[in-house]
């Protein structure tokens, strides 16, 4: 019943938050639910690692968790817990400053657990049709979160998000239907199931023409949701206009969930057609996203928009690494997902603190000298920025090195060179903006920063975990990622 409990915990919290009145109770419920999910996710992680090559199923075969799912569940749980820890003090300040109304605040606490439930369902469900429904559910539950502040710009961002997301999802649905049609090996009879695991078993017999078409539609569809260029235009808007806890969830895990859905189809397509078609498509879109992100980061004037473009770059890197299809690069992609999920929320949390202090995210209006006016936030922001640029001693350095080295090893040196160039551009952009903002004399008479324990914990714990895993990656965690990489390479 483990998988069922994982799904039920946040769902229950979301429903209870509809009725719970006292603020403290609502916050506690949220926190308890996500702590519970993390605990159960660890249980699942141990269970999956203990039985390599097999998957845990429940309700017949409706819910299914293999190593890839378990890894994603772990990421969702960690980011959601950090978010719920950060959200409580963040929204208390917003409520005190009348930036959000009580009603919107409640909306956040109902929708966020539902958003998390949707994401958990995406990674735990076996049926590809239900997976599409769950992806759509995550989009619907996050739209109103993006529009939470009800400013003109946030409504615009939400509208773009829902329209482009909706368009993408219609195309993904078409791709899903084409997959289903391709899987009808015996016409005239009703298909037994639309489960991913049973489709994988019959993949070589599936209609090749339809499957190619299906993968292209799914790539464009879920790729829109994953923010791959050139379908990424909603991404910087939504990530910058959403409240910081939501930005952290969107960037930390939601993008990767869409990527996960895409990967499931990639595995199917590879099993049906050989890895050529889907790998080269993933590689193209990934590299294009990486190259596109650099210039936008260099000329960006808004802190959160810059972070959003950095997410675009990292999603592109993961996609390209999977597309390179070498054992080392796919393992690197898995590691990169984890490290990015631990780093990016910290950056968005810090951006949230800065926004609440300065009431702007514009680099020019924030000025310089953040180290003096907000020492704690600035210190954590520096560490996270160093990590996101891929500098040692943080995990992203290791994963990026793996991907680049993997490219050289597998005779794809040009890909590694392109990745290196775009990483250097992003490095310059991020460091340039951050050094200008963090160092130097404090500009103006900024008020002293007020931080609560929760706030600092939410930002420092993920960073501490990231550093710990860089120096000492537990054996079981490495095994889990290796198994996940093996699944992507087509050996379940």
């Amino acid at each position: 019943m483990l998988l069922t409990f994982i799904l039920c915990a946040p769902l229950l919290a979301g429903l209870l938050n509809l009725f719970a009145r006292p603020r403290r109770l609502v916050e506690l419920l949220n926190l308890a639910a996500f702590a519970g999910v993390l605990f159960l996710a660890l249980e699942l992680f141990h269970a999956v690692v203990a039985a390599p090559g097999s998957a845990r199923t429940e309700w017949g075969e409706f819910l299914r968790a293999d190593a890839l799912s378990a890894w994603m569940v772990l990421l969702i749980a960690a980011v959601s817990l950090a978010t719920s820890l950060y959200a409580a003090p963040y929204f208390r300040r917003d409520l005190a400053g009348a930036v959000v109304s009580e009603r919107r605040w409640r909306e956040f606490y109902v929708l966020t657990p539902l958003f998390a439930t949707g994401m958990l369902l995406v990674v735990l469900v076996n049926n590809l049709g239900v997976m599409w429904i769950a992806v759509e559910a995550t989009a619907l539950s996050s739209v109103l979160l993006v529009a939470l502040y009800n400013r003109q710009t946030s409504l615009e961002a939400a509208w773009k998000y829902v329209m482009l997301g909706g368009l993408g999802l219609v195309l993904a649905l078409f791709g899903t239907i084409l997959t289903y049609a391709a899987a009808i090996v015996h016409p005239g009879r009703e298909m037994a199931s639309f489960n991913w695991s049973s489709l994988l078993a019959i993949a070589p017999q599936m209609d090749h023409h339809l499957m190619t078409l299906a993968f292209i539609f799914v790539l464009v569809g879920y790729g829109t949701k994953a923010g791959l260029a050139p379908m990424h235009t909603w991404l910087p808007d939504a990530h910058s206009e959403a409240p910081s806890p939501t930005s952290a969830m969107l960037s930390g895990v939601s993008l990767k969930i869409a990527l996960y859905a895409l990967l499931r189809f990639h595995i199917l397509t590879s099993a049906c057609l050989g890895s050529g078609v889907s790998c080269s498509l993933l590689l193209c879109f990934g590299l294009f996203s990486m190259l596109l992100a650099g210039p936008f980061i260099l000329m960006q004037k808004n802190l959160k928009r810059m972070l959003a473009y950095s997410s675009l770059e990292h999603v592109g890197l993961i996609c390209a690494a999977v597309g390179m299809n070498a054992p080392l690069t796919i393992f690197g992609a898995m590691l990169h997902m984890g490290c990015h999920a631990l780093t990016k929320p910290v950056l968005f949390f810090a951006a949230g603190n800065i926004h609440q202090q300065y009431h702007t995210l514009d680099f020019r209006r924030i000025g310089s000298g953040l180290m003096r006016s907000m020492p704690v936030t600035a210190l954590l922001l520096t560490l996270a920025a160093v990590a996101i640029c891929g500098m040692p001693p943080f995990g992203l350095f290791v994963s990026e090195l793996m991907v680049i080295a993997g490219g050289f090893v597998s005779q794809q040196a040009w890909v590694s060179v392109v990745i290196l160039v775009s990483l250097i551009i992003v490095f310059c952009g991020v460091l340039n903006k951050f050094s200008g903002m963090l160092l130097g004399p404090a500009s103006g008479a900024a008020p002293r920063e007020t931080l609560s324990v929760c706030n600092v914990a939410a930002m420092s714990l993920p960073l501490a975990a990231l550093m710990l895993f860089t120096f000492h990656l537990p054996d079981s965690l490495r095994k889990l990622m290796e198994q996940a990489a093996a699944i992507i390479r087509g050996s379940p």
Binding site: N127, G129, E156, Y180, H209, R305
Partner: protein, 222 residues
Amino acid sequence: MNPLNVQTASNLITLLASFMLVLQLLLAVQSMLVTNIRLFALQSLLLAAIAAVVGYAYGAWHVYVVALLTIIGKVFFLPWLLERLVRQIKIEQEVRPFVNMPASMLICGSLTVLAYVVARPITSLERLGSNTLAVAIALLLTGFFLMINRRKAITQVLALLTMENGVMLAAIALTTYGMPLVVEIGIFFDVVIAVMVLGILVFRIRETFASMDVSKLNQLKW
């Protein structure tokens, strides 16, 4: 199933699908908002009729459920919801597209031709009716055009819904029985909730901008 019945069913489905396409073209040139909503309802009714024909011809009860859900959801509930929204926020009735009517008619016509060309290599895979897949792709493409051609938020929602109709038509054409029931029901609820969420958003945009013209949503740039 007797073969005659299947043949008749196939012809009936082709006829109904082509009416869906005709309605889509009418949507492209119709300038009254409420009429647009009703045309969409009628198109959904045709989709439900196709599902019912499939259910009858092949004796598949779960396709009847799909037909029933489509009637409840897309023929009655969603149009009612959208019309209520139109009344609530008292928007003027004209749609005012970017491209004028004759030009958009021409564009939709050429998109339909394009859809037939695109669908040609895979028409052999259709399991029901003839050219239903081409109609489905035409609905997708013209829906896409309608979406970028309209200023009003509600008409963009309608365009998205017609695209969804096209996808569901493709599902029936390609697989005979449609998707598994659990998926169909899930999609149904997703679409209903999506329109409700969009309704909330449209309402808020109207309150904040005092307009529903989405071309005014242009403050965020790169």
